[in-house]
């Protein structure tokens, strides 16, 4: 191999350049070797890197490049063939790898770029999601605010608190500058500023309600943006800044009357309040949809809360009123009760205390009447008797009336002779009528039953009262009394619109008409007749001296008997007719012998024992003075009970004869004795046998003493046996003083006493 002369050996004059090239090559090689190391290091660190193969290639490429440059270092000097071949190999490999890499990169770089775009896309998406997240969070927070606000509003029932809280919370939630509530005035023509957020005491501006903007807000249930120049929105003093956006929403004021069942409230009749919300003036904020929705929801909630508060106020007021009324009513009731109690006490006292002396007076006067008297004395005694009778009647009437009005009076029902009642009335009225030369006629219809069931005493009292009035107020002419059974057509009289008779088999309606030819009554005065104490003052002839109670009592008795009473008159001087309809029962058994009751007003004068009875018994049910005339027989074997009964009767003032056996009893009993008390549960006394024999002995009913059984047996069989045997009464032992007293009273009045078992 010839050494080439063109190659300068060792370092030629440009060995500086060579030196620099040498150094550069060295550093290049270094760099080329370190880059793959770095790559490997970082790739190993990262978890994901899809292109390892490319990296390997790239690494190889770089390594080879580095190697090439490194080997280049040796070629600066004279180098052997080996170095040259190594260099060549390295270059060839490098070339190969780099070509392959270049080819590979053509495929790979677009992929890498798309990764980048995807990354960008994802980043954008993430940013968007973040934004939306922020929005949702805001909304959720707003929702929370609304819930809290609603909770606050609904947790109180005080109207002011509700509204204040609403404004405060809204202001806070939405960061408002001003929030105000306009309420309609009472007239409904104006809106008045009632509450604001910032101002403590709004001065009460009013705005007429018929403003187009306001109407627009009221007509929709959405929150409406309104102009800040609108009168309702001028809440802040005008400043230099641009006012923020204003929104108004209607708040329905609901009333209970607005709601109907199964119906939605009528919107047209509702009143609304106006809520105005203003955003801060110098911010660029705008009303967002979700904020408007919040405002609407709040407005609805406020409406409901307000209506609840209103309802509650109403009911509290009603309850207070009721309580007051209750207290007042209670007081009134207690006062009334006290008054009634006082009156009853008074009546009770009067009942007893006033009757006792009356009895004494009347009894003794009648007795006096029976004695030898000079004509003047007789006249005086008669006057005394008449006056005291009147007084006694008056007392009874007043007492009866009070009891009638109390509702405590009950009729004494019994079977009685209807004809006898009328006859008695006639007998009683005849003397007075004949004195006044009035002719009295009695006309009883043939279909009128002889016996009826009812309160004989009171019926008699009523008829007597009416007939008495007729006689009293007639100076001349005639009185006619007609009685018949009322048929249905006569019952339905136009004069008695309230009277609704009911016909039944057991009852009949007795109609009595008393017609007189007296002074008559002014038709205008007729309604007053039956009111108590209402004296007819207009005519001087009505100077009756009556208490004015008679007709009132009659009316009440008649009402008790489910009847009706009224007076017809054509005018003054034309007489008048009194018509009376009462309901009486049909007696079950009309046979005379079965009737335990006798007419109370004995039409015979055979009760010789006490001549005053006729007068007395009409007026006085309790006859204490009468016991003195009672001669009783007590038949009992038990010594103790005999003694006790005797003691009782003696204490009451009766005369007592004690007998110890049935024979003795039969022997001693006579018409002088009024009552025979028999202890029937004593063996050895055949009380039923005695009863029969006494019945046989005294055939005339009025002569026979009353037979009363004393027993300790409380079963109905005993009672029925007694009744069947013909006894007049039954008393349960032990007998107290009061019981004996009432027994005697009842015996005298009704001639019968069967104690209720």
């Amino acid at each position: 191999m010839e050494s080439c002369n063109c190659i300068e050996p060792q370092w030629p004059p440009d060995d500086l350049l060579m030196k620099y090239q040498y150094i550069s090559d060295f550093f290049i090689a270094l760099a080329y070797f370190s880059i793959p190391l770095e790559l490997i290091y970082f790739v190993k660190k990262s978890a994901v890197f899809p292109y390892r193969w490319v990296l390997v290639q790239f690494g190889a490429f770089i390594v080879l490049c580095g190697a090439t440059h490194l080997i280049n270092l040796w070629t600066f000097t004279v180098h052997s063939r080996t170095v040259a071949s190594v260099m060549t190999t390295a270059k060839v490999l490098t070339a190969a790898v780099s070509c392959i890499t270049a080819l590979m990169l053509v495929h790979i770089i677009p992929d890498l770029l798309s990764v980048k775009t995807r990354e960008l896309f994802l980043k954008n998406k993430a940013a968007e999601l973040d934004r939306e997240m922020g929005l949702i969070r805001t909304q959720e927070e707003t929702g929370r605010h609304v819930r809290m606000l609603t909770h606050e509003i609904r947790s109180t029932l005080d109207r002011h608190t509700i509204l204040k809280t609403t404004l405060v919370e809204l202001g806070r939630t939405l960061a408002l500058e001003e929030c105000a509530l306009w309420m309609p005035t009472r007239t409904g023509l104006e809106l008045q500023l009632s509450y604001t957020l910032r101002q403590q005491n709004p001065v009460g501006y009013t705005v007429p309600i018929h403003h187009p903007v306001i109407n627009q807000v009221f007509s929709s249930n959405r929150a409406v943006k309104i102009s800040p120049n609108c009168p309702v929105a001028r809440l802040r003093p005008a400043g230099k800044y641009m006012p923020g956006e204003v929104v108004a929403v209607r708040v329905p004021l609901l009333h209970l009357s607005n709601f109907r069942i199964n119906d939605w409230p009528e919107l047209s009749t509702k009143r609304y309040a106006l809520m105005v919300l203003m955003l801060p003036s110098d911010s660029a904020r705008q009303w967002h949809v979700h904020e408007l929705e919040l405002v609407e929801v709040v407005a609805d909630q406020v409406a409901v809360a307000l209506s609840h508060a209103a309802i509650l106020e109403e009911s509290m007021r009603a309850r207070d009123l009721l309580m007051e009324q209750n207290v007042a009513l209670d007081l009134a009731r207690r006062e009334a009760e006290t008054a009634i109690r006082a009156r009853n006490d008074f009546l009770a006292v009067m009942n007893h205390e006033m009757r006792t002396p009356m009895h004494a007076i009347i009894a003794l006067s009648s007795l006096l009447q029976e004695t030898e008297l000079t004509p003047e004395q007789r006249l005086m005694v008669e006057t005394v008797l008449k006056s005291s009778n009147l007084l006694a009647t008056l007392i009874n009437d007043v007492l009866d009336l009070s009891r009638l009005e109390d509702g405590s009076l009950q009729l004494d029902l019994g079977t009685f002779n209807l004809y006898a009642v009328f006859r008695e009335v006639l007998n009683l009225i005849k003397p007075i009528a004949s004195v006044k030369k009035l002719h009295v006629s009695l006309n009883l219809a043939p279909d009128l039953p002889e016996y009826a069931v009812g309160d004989e005493k009171r019926l008699m009292q009523t008829i007597l009262n009416i007939v008495g009035n007729a006689v009293k107020f007639s100076k001349e002419g005639s009185i006619s009394i007609t009685a018949f059974v009322a048929k249905l057509d006569t019952l339905r009289d136009s004069k008695a619109p309230d009277f609704l008779p009911v016909l039944s088999d057991n009852h009949f309606y007795l109609r009595v008409q008393v017609k007189d030819s007296g002074s008559g009554i002014n038709p205008l005065d007729i309604p007053k007749l039956f009111t108590k104490f209402a004296q007819n003052q207009s005519t001087g002839t009505r100077n009756s001296g009556g208490s004015g109670l008679g007709l009132a009592i009659c009316k009440r008795f008649v009402n008790l008997m489910e009847g009706h009473i009224w007076i017809e008159s054509e005018g003054l001087g034309k007489g008048c007719t009194a018509i009376l309809i009462v309901k009486l029962g049909m007696p079950e058994r009309v046979k005379e012998s079965k009737l335990p009751y006798m007419p109370k007003m004995p039409t015979n004068h055979e009760q010789t024992a006490f001549p005053g009875l006729k007068v007395l018994s009409r007026f006085m049910p309790s006859l204490q003075a009468l016991y003195a005339y009672l001669h009783n027989v007590v038949l009992a074997i038990g010594k103790v009970s005999r003694m006790v009964t005797k003691g009782l009767l003696l204490h009451l003032g009766c005369d007592v004869t004690m007998v110890g056996s049935s024979d003795e009893c039969l022997r001693l009993v006579s018409h002088e004795h009024k009552v025979v008390f028999m202890d029937i549960c004593v063996p050895g006394i055949d009380s039923y046998g005695i009863t029969t024999r006494i019945h046989e002995k005294f055939t005339k009913r009025h002569e026979r003493p009353l037979l009363v059984a004393l027993t300790g047996n409380t079963d109905k069989v005993t009672k029925e046996n007694c009744m069947r045997a013909g006894m007049d009464g039954l008393i349960l032992k032990p007998v107290s003083l009061d019981k004996m007293r009432s027994v005697l009273t009842d015996l005298l009045e009704h001639r019968v006493f069967f104690e209720a078992i």
């Binding site: 103790v640 003694m643 003691g647 003696l650 204490h651 549960c681 063996p683 300790g712 032990p734 107290s736």
Partner: protein, 153 residues
């Protein structure tokens, strides 16, 4: 006067206790009401009659029940009935109650029961007798001291 007041108070207390313990009932009060100026010893008389009656009836009953050959329950029943009547007339509540039980035993013809009741009746009767005698003694003491018998409602 003090003595009288004391005696009267004693009388009232004793009376009330008799009522409370059931020895006497309302009927006795009724009897006391019957006592007045016409019959000042009414209650004492009735009580003595009652004691006589009681003893007689109790003896009757004892004799009837002692019969070894067949007790005549009808007779016993009649006596008990009479005793019941008397005791209720005077207001001897406890005696009367025993009589009621006695009668049911008679109806059932239960000799043992009857004997037991008879014992009870005797016991109650003697108790009552003692109590009433004490009461009457108190009454006499009050009257002797110049006071009046207080009315016990």
């Amino acid at each position: 006067m003090d003595v009288v007041n004391q005696l009267q108070r004693q009388f009232i207390d004793y009376s009330a206790s008799l009522h409370r313990e059931g020895f006497l009932d309302d009927q006795f009060t009724q009897l006391q009401k019957l006592q007045d100026d016409n019959s000042p010893d009414f209650v004492v008389e009735v009580a003595s009659l009652f004691f006589e009656d009681c003893e007689k009836l109790i003896n009757n009953m004892a004799r009837a029940l002692e019969q070894q050959q067949g007790v005549d329950f009808k007779q016993v029943d009649a006596s008990v009935h009479q005793l019941k009547g008397s005791s209720s007339s005077i207001g001897a509540m406890r005696v009367k109650d025993v009589c009621i039980a006695f009668r049911s035993f008679c109806e059932a013809q239960n000799r043992e029961g009857c004997l037991r009741c008879l014992q009870q009746v005797t016991h109650e009767y003697s108790l009552l007798k003692n109590k009433l005698q004490t009461l009457f003694r108190l009454q006499q003491q009050i009257l002797a001291a110049g006071g009046s018998i207080p009315v016990v409602e």
